[in-house]
């Protein structure tokens, strides 16, 4: 090994994010001091982002199996059978730290990374979604981050050519120093043509494909595994730069060589770049890998082995090519104008060997690099339970109409049109339900099948009670798919938390995972892929626990999906599910009374299932004209959203005596849906509800152009909509256009 490389010192080890005991583990494992390049490789493989060392133990408890699951967690993306020989391939992944440091490139490469995960498996991406969390709108950096992240997501997805069809956006002061960018991609493949990272065969060429390697993104994964302090902006050089054009070419070239039968194994170069992809391909296939870095296509001159191994340059792939197919594969890549280079071979000695300029820069046991990564059972404490809020104890000076107006004009509820209009949500000509509904619906192939897609989580609930919050995130995703008429099939989870070395944060992670697991099991909604993002802290203050759930469901006939807009006047409005008036951790409490307090609404999973199955049966039987799930904001916000989407008003009935009207209209009891029913079908719907044992109550009727709440001033729907549409464009300084 060369003597010009830096000496391994305790400082250098610390700079690589390795703790002293972790370094000791390396010494024990290899029986000598690592070279500089080897230290970099360990740092890349053993950081939180790649090794899941804090979360792995608890992730094991998640249900990941179902008869329709083809591939669960552990591959580039999850794969589920959607019938007719087709498979949906999907995953959600965070790009939080980079997006805070450099929002445009950080968010864009987040999209690029997740798209690559999906097409690495042989699937053509058909939809993208994203879940974004920003700090307080009053924080001086928030506007800049919103503008940059949204432009970055659009810039990448629009050029690549995938419709961005849905997602969620929220604001809270706890994200002031750590915004969240969780990007999800969904692809379509033939169920019997899925590609994996596992290499097979000794002496086969390891091929490098795509863009050239530069110095960008070195230590990106290590950066993403640390807290921010002052000067986070100085980490800009660790953020990668995206090239959606190169990714589009890479997509087409990869699918073409897969179709041509050239590919034995494939792994994209994402976090920790060449290191992680090469090690995974070898380790999964019980093979060694030998790389010759002299053959690596580089964009810059004089790059060291260390830099090449740790670069996170984007739009790159590593493949093992089938014997005798090298020339055919190369011709396809050259046609698309991409680099193609044989950079190594598979070996039978289970070593990961890296050569550069005639020297061996690394020689490490390949299996142990992954398998022997530290695994921590970190101490954790349960989040203390909070009391149930008694609505009678609240001093409410607001009026019902006044509170509603404020809520729908507040940052979390305001229309996100300004954002999703920057995303091409129509490309590919399959978008059946566009952004703004409960779930997006995209057609599969020529139809009639479709996929229902959603992203959900209520961080306030998770903070107050991680277990119930975790359950609720899954239940809401399940409910949103149900509300359009879809059958929920599987989910991907993107777990965003603070510093796991703090027992209370670890307690949030453990609690949320248990809740997610319980709900996924009860609802037959297994976890097939996911990502963990920890250390979302700045100056010691963590984000709200945010386990984003991305749900995928199948719609048998896209002509029969339900939408939330009222369809006509003179129809009955029903609420399905129990309304008890649960105000703890509600949006009403937070936004109107400025109190984020109390126990969040409990989630009765059996009831979720019963009510949801009932709603789906109504949609299938064409008995309902509009459907909307009731989530944060409660009943009145749900009804208002249905009215605003249609321009049709509603007259509501007074709640039964004995319930506080604010709790009734703004309470966030779970397992509820609002549906509208044409007059001829009312009796039938009530009969079926009774037969199914489902609670249903008439709460009003549609008609007119106003929202009439008994005893209150009427609200003009157009005015409500203007209010709902106004906040974001005005905040972004863009005017109403």
């Amino acid at each position: 090994m060369t003597s010009t490389e830096p000496k391994i010192t305790p400082e250098l080890i610390a700079e690589h994010g390795l703790k002293p005991d972790e370094y000791q583990r390396i010494l024990t494992l290899i029986g000598r001091e690592p070279s500089f390049t080897e230290l970099g490789i360990f740092s890349a493989m053993w950081n939180e982002h790649c090794s899941y060392k804090s979360s792995r133990l608890h992730l094991r408890g998640l249900p990941t199996k179902a008869p329709w699951v083809i591939q669960g967690p552990g591959e580039n993306a999850g794969v589920i059978d959607i019938g007719d020989g087709q498979a949906a391939v999907f995953k959600m992944e965070s790009h939080n730290h980079p997006s805070y440091i450099e929002p445009y490139q950080g968010a864009g490469t987040g999209v690029g990374g997740i798209l690559r995960d999906v097409f690495t498996m042989g699937a053509r991406p058909i939809a993208a979604l994203n879940a974004l969390r920003f700090g307080d709108p009053k924080h001086p950096r928030t506007r800049h981050l919103v503008a940059g992240v949204v432009a970055g997501i659009g810039g990448y997805g629009n050029s690549f050519g995938v419709p961005t069809v849905g997602g969620l956006v929220g604001f809270h002061t706890r994200y002031d120093g750590n915004n969240l960018v969780n990007a999800m991609a969904v692809g379509l493949a033939d169920a019997d043509k899925i590609f994996y990272a596992k290499a097979t065969g000794v002496g086969l060429p390891v091929v490098y494909l795509g863009s050239k390697t530069g110095r960008d993104g070195i230590h990106g994964a290590t950066m993403a595994s640390a807290e921010f302090g002052e000067g986070a902006e100085e980490k800009r050089p660790t953020v990668q730069v995206g090239d959606p054009f190169a990714e589009k070419l890479l997509l087409e070239a990869c699918l073409e060589i897969m179709e041509a039968g050239c590919v034995v194994a494939i792994q994209d170069m994402g976090a920790a770049g060449l290191t992680c992809s090469a090690v995974e391909m070898g380790a999964k296939g019980d093979l060694g890998i030998e790389l010759d870095l002299d053959r690596l296509p580089c964009r810059e001159e004089g790059m060291s082995a260390y830099e090449m191994m740790l670069s996170e340059s984007q739009e790159r792939m590593l493949m093992v090519i089938a014997p005798g197919k090298e020339e055919q594969a190369e011709a396809i890549f050259l046609k698309w104008g991409l680099d193609f280079a044989i950079v190594g071979y598979t070996t039978d000695n289970l070593r990961f060997v890296v050569k550069h300029k005639g020297e061996i820069k690394a020689d490490l046991p390949i299996k142990e690099l992954g398998d022997e990564a530290p695994l921590y059972d970190r101490p954790w404490v349960e989040t203390p339970k909070q009391q149930r809020i008694d609505p009678a104890s609240l001093e409410i000076t607001a009026t019902l109409p006044g509170a509603l107006e404020r809520l729908i004009g507040s940052p979390d509820f305001a229309s996100k049109r300004w954002i999703w209009e920057q995303y091409d949500h129509l490309i590919l000509n399959n978008t059946v339900q566009r952004p703004g509904g409960d779930s997006a619906v995209v057609r599969v192939g020529e139809g009639p099948k479709g996929l229902a897609l959603t992203c959900d989580v209520t961080p306030r609930y998770c903070e107050a009670d991680p277990f119930e919050g975790g359950k609720q995130a899954v239940a809401e995703a399940w409910r949103n798919i149900t509300a359009v008429g879809g059958k929920p099939l599987a989910l991907t989870d993107n777990l965003n938390f603070g510093n796991p070395e703090k027992p209370e944060i670890m307690g949030q992670l453990v609690g949320c995972l248990r809740g997610i697991g319980a709900a996924a099991l009860a609802l037959d909604f297994p976890v097939v892929s996911g990502n963990v993002s920890l250390y979302n802290e700045t100056n010691g203050r963590g984000i709200l626990p945010t386990p984003t759930i991305g749900g995928v469901g199948v719609v048998d006939d896209i002509e029969k999906t339900a939408t939330l807009a009222f369809k006509a006047g003179g129809e009955a409005i029903f609420v399905i599910g129990e309304t008890t008036g649960w105000l703890g951790q509600s949006a009403f409490l937070a936004e109107i009374l400025n109190r984020e307090e109390g126990a969040p609404p409990p989630v009765d999973l059996e009831l979720e299932r019963k009510n949801g199955d009932f709603v789906r049966s109504l949609i299938e039987a064409d008995l309902v004209t509009a459907v909307h799930d009731v989530s944060d904001g409660g009943l009145l916000v749900a009804i208002t959203e249905m009215a605003m989407a249609s321009g049709i008003g509603a007259s509501l009935l007074a709640p039964e005596d004995g319930i506080n009207p604010f709790a009734y209209w703004f309470g966030e009891d779970q397992a509820r849906y609002v549906v509208t029913v044409a007059s001829g079908e009312k009796a039938q719907v009530l009969r079926q509800a009774e037969a199914a044992g489902v609670t249903i109550a008439k709460i009003g009727g549609t008609g007119g152009d106003r929202l009439n709440i008994p005893g209150e001033r009427p609200l003009v729907i157009d005015t409500l909509r203007e209010r709902n549409e106004a906040w974001l464009p005005i905040y972004m300084g863009a005017g109403l256009m």
Binding site: N158, F245, W420, E421, Y423, D424, H425, L426, M737
Partner: protein
């Protein structure tokens, strides 16, 4: 009718327009690679699809306009053959000299994907004859650089010769150049060549042909083309 859709590296709406053509006219177009030098024999209609050819890192459409296949497209247009350029295709037509003017960055500097209202200004072109004169139609737009501009002389000539085929209008059906979604001069959404056989437009008729996905105002454009070519 024989149709060809040109595929440049970075094109991404070729499938949308191909499926719309098939959906409306029953014709499956051939996909022609940018590096080819000839169109398939007997091609009646050439489509330059939407997308980000060559990444559009330089001026949009500037590199595609110099692709090998474009000489054949220019020759096809010179023979009076139909050429339809949508979005990036419109940008390529401008860059290749087949249409005047240029598409620059949207006035609000943001990509915009939404339904736009358009007035069909001419119904005597091969692309618009199935529309009623003055009809207001709804096509979506999806572009970051759709702000049509040209020098005053050119604009005057275009207007004088009645070569504006589509114009953005407001909800009241009237144009408002101060409010137009991308800042386009004279609210121009689409223009035709002197001989009316080349149409460039920013909005996407191909995304509005299937009732399942939304409005179907784009159908008549493809029906117009098919009708003209059947009679030919």
């Amino acid at each position: 009718m024989k149709a060809a859709v040109i595929l440049f590296p970075g094109s991404n709406r070729e499938g949308d327009v191909a499926s719309a053509l098939k959906h409306v006219t029953g014709v499956t177009p051939s996909i022609v690679w940018h590096a080819d030098t000839d169109l398939p024999a007997g091609t009646d209609l050439v489509v330059l699809p939407g997308g980000f050819s060559y990444g559009d890192y330089l001026r949009c459409g500037a590199i595609a306009a110099r692709a090998a296949i474009m000489d054949a497209v220019r020759a096809h247009a010179a023979r009076g053959g139909l050429v339809l350029g949508i979005c990036n295709g419109f940008q390529i037509l401008c860059e290749s000299g087949l249409l005047p003017g240029v598409l620059v960055r949207n006035a609000r500097l943001r990509f915009v994907c939404r339904e736009a209202l358009l007035k069909v200004e001419r119904t005597d072109t091969p692309f618009t004859r199935r529309y009623a004169k003055g009809a207001i139609v709804r096509y979506p737009v999806a572009h970051g650089e759709g702000n049509y501009t040209a020098d005053t002389e050119t604009l005057k000539r275009l207007e004088g010769e009645g070569r504006v085929a589509f114009r953005y209008v407001m909800a009241d059906g009237k144009r408002d150049d101060t409010q137009v979604l991308n800042g386009a001069a004279n609210s121009i959404a689409g223009i035709v060549s002197e001989k009316l056989n080349v149409l460039g437009l920013m909005p996407h008729p191909e995304n509005h042909v299937d009732p399942l996905l939304g409005p179907t105002d784009g159908r008549a454009l493809f029906e117009s083309i098919a009708g003209v070519l059947e009679r030919a």
